[in-house]
């Protein structure tokens, strides 16, 4: 454009005018920049955000193999000794076992309670429906810190010593409403004529539940189970206030960091736990997109959003 303007104004170089104009003029720098930004700006921006989310964890994992107690360059050599230190730590082992044990109970209980509460809220009409829905949603909105403090006071008031049982109970309270939301969303999209058809074909109530409703709810139940497990395993606030002397994994990491002793050990175990968490969720997601027959990217995105809505 600049070139054509220049030749139009008679300011072209010595050969101007006689040389045939190029088939496609090079656009000006400003336009090219704008195009480049609109083309690469988004991907670069998204890449930077993803790098900020995952970068620190990757660096953490890398330094778990560094043969030094400080996390700075230069690299002090490869070692796996921090992993043996972590495995030899009895407190850490106890905390991990506690956490897995608690999560393994919280997850199925949350699925049951969440499903039970989702049914009446989405399908039945009764006077207290609004109140019930608000009550079930409240633990998702009220800060966990407040719930944790009230739990601490409550168990003290009841004269119950803090233990794995108290932390388990409080975690169920904050976790099962998540399953309620997932199952209710899935139920709301269920076409009830399917049920009527099943009844017309002679199915009993139980058969409708088993062969029509449950298969439809399965993705939500599975997502609910996995999310409830990870919410429970990762839960820090509640665990910190009501677990008493039985440390859970997040509390162990927190108190180790507060005292700043033997940090590479934290790197090692954090790497293992993060790897396990990512692998678990990714495998579950692969399994369910495969089961649900999601082939296109759109269907897979829907399956994914199902889990986060």
């Amino acid at each position: 454009m600049r070139k054509t303007q220049a030749s139009a104004a008679g300011l072209a170089g010595p050969a101007g005018g006689s040389r045939p104009a190029p088939a496609r003029a090079r656009p000006p720098l400003k336009l090219r920049l704008r195009r480049a930004v609109s083309r690469f700006g988004g991907p670069v921006f998204a890449g930077v955000v993803i790098a900020l989310l995952y970068g620190p964890i990757i660096v953490l994992a890398a330094f778990s193999f560094n043969n030094s107690i400080v996390f700075s360059l230069p690299w002090a050599g490869f070692t796996t000794k921090w992993y043996s230190v972590a495995f030899g730590d009895a407190n850490l082992r106890a905390a991990l076992i506690n956490s897995i044990w608690v999560a393994a109970i919280v997850a199925p209980v949350s699925v049951v309670l969440g499903t039970l509460s989702a049914f009446p809220i989405t399908r039945f009409h009764f006077k207290l429906r609004g109140a019930a829905a608000m009550l079930v949603a409240a633990p998702l909105v009220i800060p966990w810190l407040v719930i944790a403090v009230s739990g601490q006071l409550y168990f003290h008031f009841l004269g119950v010593d803090l233990s794995q049982v108290t932390v388990l109970l409080m975690q169920i309270v904050v976790t099962f409403p998540l399953v309620t939301v997932l199952v209710a969303a899935r139920l709301a999209r269920f076409d009830r004529t399917q049920e009527e058809a099943a009844v017309d074909l002679g199915a009993s109530q139980l058969q409708v539940l088993r062969y029509v409703l449950l298969p439809h709810l399965m993705p939500a139940l599975a997502a609910g189970f996995i999310l409830a497990f990870s919410w429970s395993f990762n839960n820090f606030e509640i665990s910190y206030f009501v677990s008493g002397f039985n440390q859970l994994f997040p509390v162990w990491v927190y108190s180790t960091l507060r005292h700043a002793t033997n940090l590479p050990e934290v790197n090692a175990i954090a790497t293992l736990v993060s790897g396990a968490e990512v692998a678990l969720v990714y495998l579950a997601w692969l399994f369910f997109t495969w089961r649900s027959g999601a082939r296109t990217a759109r269907e897979k995105a829907d399956a994914l959003l199902e889990a986060v809505r």
């Binding site: 955000v49 620190p56 660096v59 360059l73 800060p143 403090v149 006071l153 109970l169 206030f241 959003l305």
Partner: protein
């Protein structure tokens, strides 16, 4: 047969009773759990905040002293102001990151839409304390960022305000929650038919008008959900300031944790928790009404 069609009065009554009671059969378990372990503790919290309960005071009975102590002590005011400042800055930073990111994923990413979405969901499965620790490791005095800055030659000495400062708390809070901020905004934007934008362009709207009159109002519910999901937990967070903050970034959450677990002043701790609960309720309602201002007619 007539016997099938005609139900006796008793059977009808039974059927109605079953229909009436069915919801409560389902809700018995969940609501029972919530009443026993959620409502009752909150009621106790309310009562405790109006009672003397401290290791240092032997008085008993009802009082307003806990609240009076909080409102008259200037230290609480400073902490509350710092908390509000840090949580709000982190929220604005996240909205500034999440809005374009959600727009990119929803409209521009195409085949990258799913991977980016999956990565945003997956990062939430990582342990939050571990994620905070990873940042602490990076930002430290001898951390990777300081080594890099010195290697490039931007500074000759380690930059100390990177860690144990307001800066580190705001940064780590933002990075802990930005995925949660993005997802509801993405869901809201995904529901917009892109044809709306083309129509607006054909009718002569520039990018700013499209952004201001279409994208923003239609994404507003998503922004509200994001603020509700993220602002409240950030406002009450105490792990982040405890691990990457310093004396200047002590937050209300730390105050509550210290009152309850270190100092043992449970009355004041309960009162402060209750005030924070009230503040989060105000924030939630405000976010809700703000989201309604921008609806399309």
């Amino acid at each position: 047969m007539a016997a099938e069609a005609v139900l006796s009065a008793r059977q009808r009554w039974q059927a109605r009773a079953v229909r009436r009671l069915r919801p409560f059969g389902f809700l018995f378990g969940p609501v029972g759990v919530l009443l026993a372990l959620f409502v009752a503790p909150l009621v106790l919290l309310l009562i405790m905040s109006f009672r003397y309960d401290s290791l240092y005071i032997t008085k008993t009975g009802f009082t307003l002293a806990n609240f009076a102590g909080i409102f008259t002590n200037p230290a609480y005011r400073t902490v509350a102001r710092d908390t509000l400042m840090m949580a709000t800055t982190a929220m604005l930073l996240q909205l500034a990151i999440a809005f374009p990111l959600a727009y990119f994923i929803a409209f521009k990413a195409r085949r990258w839409e799913l991977p980016v979405l999956l990565l945003l969901v997956l990062v939430d499965e990582l342990n939050p304390i571990v994620r905070i620790y990873a940042w602490r490791m990076l930002l430290g005095r001898d951390g990777l960022i300081n080594s890099a800055l010195q290697w490039v030659g931007l500074t000759s000495r380690p930059v100390l305000w990177l860690l144990f400062s307001k800066f580190s708390v705001i940064l780590v809070l933002s990075m802990s929650w930005v995925n949660y901020t993005t997802l509801p905004m993405y869901a809201a934007m995904k529901a917009i038919n892109p044809i709306v934008f083309e129509t607006a362009t054909d009718l002569g709207a520039g990018w700013f008008t499209r952004w201001r009159r279409i994208l923003l109002p239609l994404a507003a519910p998503g922004i509200f959900v994001a603020i509700l999901l993220v602002y409240v937990p950030m406002f009450t967070d105490f792990a982040t300031p405890a691990l990457v903050g310093g004396p200047s970034s002590y937050m209300l959450g730390n105050q509550v944790a210290d009152l309850m677990l270190e100092i043992g002043d449970w009355g004041t701790g309960a009162a402060l928790s209750l005030l924070m609960l009230a503040a989060t309720a105000v924030i939630s309602v405000a976010a809700y009404f703000l989201s309604r201002l921008n609806q399309l007619d």
